[in-house]
């Protein structure tokens, strides 16, 4: 535990990443699907000689540029900041393995952002063919960013046997392509591409629903054309989803089913619930788009498009949350746990101690160091997955018994599949037990009060 810890009261650092990531995914996947939308829309308009359509596309491209170029780019940087602070070990492991991948992604990203700006500012300033080429350049580079980031994201759930065979040896980068084209790469890419297409349509409906004045006559046509972008999802999403399910590890599939019969806390039952929200909201988007946008385009108002956007946000958030959760208790499946401890380090930490090399051992108690290092990645004191709530009604002995179960991870432990094993010497685990007992007791120290941050 050589990295600083990041204490975010109530929501925890995990939800800082979550909130930024969900917002970013909504925009970045629109950036990918929207690029193709602009290219095809412009091609159609030019082929049919529709000047009025070009004006609509020009307006949409302004909205597109602002949304993706500002909010998409800023939230993307926000993800880097937040994962670096919240999960430095995991971030470090990914960078060491995928530095070449990210270098490629940043090249494409740079071209993508620059092209988006050039595309908007060259309306009526360059000839039609050049402008159309810019549209295709944007569409191509933005899709390439998805192609690359998908490899890294899917790797975290299914790194593959080939990469796992060299994990921890220092030769991980030699299996770059095996790790990149991992078992869930292709189903994940298809799923994300379908979502990109849907989001292109959903966001386009926002601008199309506001067409008025001389462009109002185009409203029905543009809305119906945009609504068509949801058809691929409608037809292929169930197939792609089952393909993806068949490719993920069996224990991840079990996690999805954990909440079918219960809402018991501590068992990650929210994964099932998140999956249900995703299915329900996605189905509703399709229904609203069909019944309102497609059947009655002129009655499709801004309020309706914002409602669809809200549902898309809920669907995206629920899906991304479920995807992150089914990887538990790992950050990189079978290699690194969500608290940043590598599987290969467990025996060493149990023998030599988890906090032995900590630079903060003088400034805070051993119990707090253990809490910050192994609990705080997923738990807060009083908010999300509150430790005070989870430890309520347990005396010191019960807390100690629970920590023993977490440390020994017997086959009968209900937490075995959901939580990383607790590592450390008996003395450290005892210190953690004392710390938690004091936290739960009346007047016990709240982490945020006792120490604002160990940075």
């Amino acid at each position: 535990m050589n990295y600083p810890t990041w204490d975010v009261p109530l929501i925890g650092s995990v939800w800082v990443i979550g909130a930024i990531a969900i917002f970013h995914v909504m925009i970045s996947q629109f950036a990918v699907g929207g690029g193709l939308y602009l290219a095809l829309a412009e091609q159609k308009a030019r082929r049919e000689g529709r000047e009025d359509w070009l004006e609509v596309i020009r307006r949409h491209s302004k909205f597109f540029l602002i949304l993706t170029g500002v909010f998409g780019a800023v939230s993307g940087v926000g993800i880097w900041f937040s994962i670096g602070l919240a999960s430095p070990e995991s971030t470090s492991a990914l960078i060491h393995n995928f530095v070449f991948g990210w270098a490629m992604e940043w090249c494409f990203f740079f071209v993508e952002i620059a092209t988006a700006a050039v595309y908007y500012y060259t309306w009526e300033r360059v000839d039609a063919k050049t402008h159309q080429t810019l549209a295709w350049l944007y569409a191509g580079t933005s899709f390439c960013t998805l192609v690359i980031i998908n490899g890294i994201l899917s790797f975290m759930l299914t790194p593959g046997d080939s990469w796992l065979a060299v994990a921890g040896t220092g030769h991980e980068a030699s299996r770059f392509w095996e790790a990149f084209f991992n078992p869930t790469y292709w189903p994940s890419l298809v799923l994300r591409s379908l979502v990109c297409s849907s989001l292109a349509g959903v966001w386009a409906l926002v601008t199309a629903s506001q067409l008025d004045g001389p462009l109002e006559a185009l409203k029905a046509e543009v809305i119906r054309w945009s609504a068509r972008w949801l058809v691929p999802s409608f037809l292929l999403m169930p197939v792609a989803f089952f393909w993806y399910l068949s490719a993920i590890p069996a224990n991840s599939r079990q996690l999805i089913q954990a909440g079918v019969s219960t809402i018991g806390s501590g068992l990650f039952t929210q994964v099932t619930r998140a999956a249900l929200v995703s299915v329900m909201t996605s189905a509703t988007i399709l229904a609203i788009v069909y019944f309102l946008a497609w059947r009655n385009p002129m009655d499709f108002k801004l309020g309706h498009s914002v409602a669809v956007l809200f549902l898309a946000f809920a669907a995206t958030g629920a899906t991304e949350h479920a995807r992150e959760m089914i990887r538990k208790p790992f950050t990189v499946s079978q290699y690194m746990y969500s608290d940043g401890v590598r599987r290969s380090q467990i025996a060493g930490f149990n023998q030599a101690g988890f906090t032995t090399d900590s630079p903060w051992s003088q400034s805070m108690s051993q119990g707090e160091l253990m809490f910050r290092g192994q609990c705080m990645n997923c738990h807060t004191v009083d908010g999300y997955r509150s430790m005070r709530r989870l430890m309520r009604n347990r005396d010191r002995k019960a807390i100690g018994n629970m920590l023993t179960v977490l440390h020994d991870t017997p086959a009968s432990s209900p937490y075995r599949n959901f939580m990383p094993p607790l590592v450390g010497t008996p003395q450290e685990i005892d210190a953690l037990g004392d710390y938690l007992n004091t936290m739960v007791g009346a007047g016990g120290p709240a982490l945020a009060r006792s120490s604002k941050s160990s940075h």
């Binding site: 119906r224 079918v260 809402i263 998140a274 929200v277 329900m280 609203i288 309102l292 009655n296």
Partner: protein
């Protein structure tokens, strides 16, 4: 008028002609479609409020559907708590059905209140819609009793003590104590007999009263159509806009239903209704016992008046004030009859604002005082 004269989209789903014709000959679908097409709905800046009656109805349908499913496992009486525990923690998707039932109950009360106040401020209780207003008030009362009776059924600690406190209030009225004991509580204490009674009320008696009332209410809405708000009614007919009920308003109504259904689903899945500790009549009431949010304003009103006027007189004054509000709502169509901007109309509007503000303020105050 918003146009709907677009060509049918290519590939739109159509019933095979043969089946459609067969059904049409027997059910008169063409006449029904024709009727719906000629029926119009006013379109103006307050049109949004027209959806709330439909949304209330949707939540009721969700209640009905999930309630029937809960009946499969729920066992009133001494096994009540265990059966709800089984539904919540053992039965596949039992938690979802129970959560959807509980959330849609709360949302239905909210939607009915919004619907009532929107109807009130649009003055849609005036001639010829008086009976629509009265049946609506009766439905609101039934919804509140639905909520109160359903709240006890899990028999956990909170529902037990909240019901106990709730039933003490009418018992204080002279002559009511025996009636509450014999008819509602089934004894001097809340217990198994109370759960049996509340279950019968919740699952049999109230639906039997509610469904015909709802039928009459919907018939009256169909008969008189949507009321115009005073500002809109004052405009000349040529300046008023309408849209066809079918397919335009119907499609928008359907979209609102879908959105409302999603809100229930999102709440039920992300914030599933948990179950507290089993009720123990011998244990002291836990701190902060309070009624559901939709009874909080009445609860707080009784507390506040009781503080100003201590003792029995305070209880009576509080109940009296509450009864006066109900009486005012009942007689408002007779008081504010047919003018949009007269003295009585203005007074009624201000009283409505006072009532709404009072409800919201007392509810917030009630929670802050816990």
């Amino acid at each position: 008028m918003a146009t709907s004269s677009f060509p049918e989209p290519k590939g739109a789903l159509k019933w095979p002609d043969g089946i459609l014709k067969w059904m049409d000959e027997r059910l008169g679908l063409t006449e029904l479609a024709e009727f719906a097409r000629h029926k119009t709905v006013p379109q103006h800046k307050h049109s949004f409020w027209y959806y709330w009656g439909g949304i209330s109805l949707l939540f009721f349908i969700v209640q009905l559907f999930t309630g029937i499913l809960l009946l499969v496992y729920y066992r009133p009486g001494k096994e009540a708590f265990d059966s709800v525990r089984q539904i919540t923690y053992d039965v596949d998707f039992g938690w979802l059905i129970r959560s959807a039932h509980s959330w849609s109950a709360n949302l239905m009360v909210f939607a009915v209140f919004v619907h009532m106040f929107s109807v009130f401020f649009m003055k849609a209780y005036q001639k010829p819609r008086e009976f629509g207003w009265w049946t609506g008030l009766a439905l609101l009362g039934a919804v509140m009793v639905f909520g109160f009776s359903g709240y006890l059924l899990p028999m956990d600690e909170l529902s037990y003590f909240a019901t106990k406190v709730g039933l003490q209030i009418p018992s204080m009225i002279p002559g009511m104590s025996g009636l509450v004991n014999d008819l509602v509580r089934g004894g001097s204490q809340v217990g198994e007999a109370t759960v049996q009674r509340f279950f019968a009320l919740h699952a049999v008696v109230l639906p039997l009263l509610f469904l015909p009332l709802l039928g009459i209410h919907l018939f009256l809405v169909q008969k008189h159509g949507n009321a115009l708000p005073p500002g809109e009614a004052a405009k000349p007919a040529s300046e008023r806009r309408t849209i066809p009920f079918f397919p335009n308003f119907f499609a928008q109504d359907l979209a609102m239903w879908l959105l409302a259904l999603n809100i229930v689903t999102i709440l039920a899945t992300l914030f599933p209704w948990d179950l507290g500790k089993q009720a123990d009549p011998l244990s002291p009431a836990p701190m902060g016992i309070h009624p559901e949010w939709y009874f909080m304003s009445q609860f707080q009103l009784l507390k506040v008046v009781g503080r100003w006027i201590p003792g029995f007189a305070g209880e009576i004054a509080g109940m009296g004030l509450f009864t006066a509000v109900l009486a005012f709502l009942a007689i408002v169509p007779l008081f504010d009859r047919d003018t949009a901007f007269g003295r009585r109309a203005r007074l009624t509007t201000w009283l409505g604002v006072l009532m709404l503000g009072g409800m919201i303020g007392l509810t917030i105050w009630g929670y802050a005082a816990l």
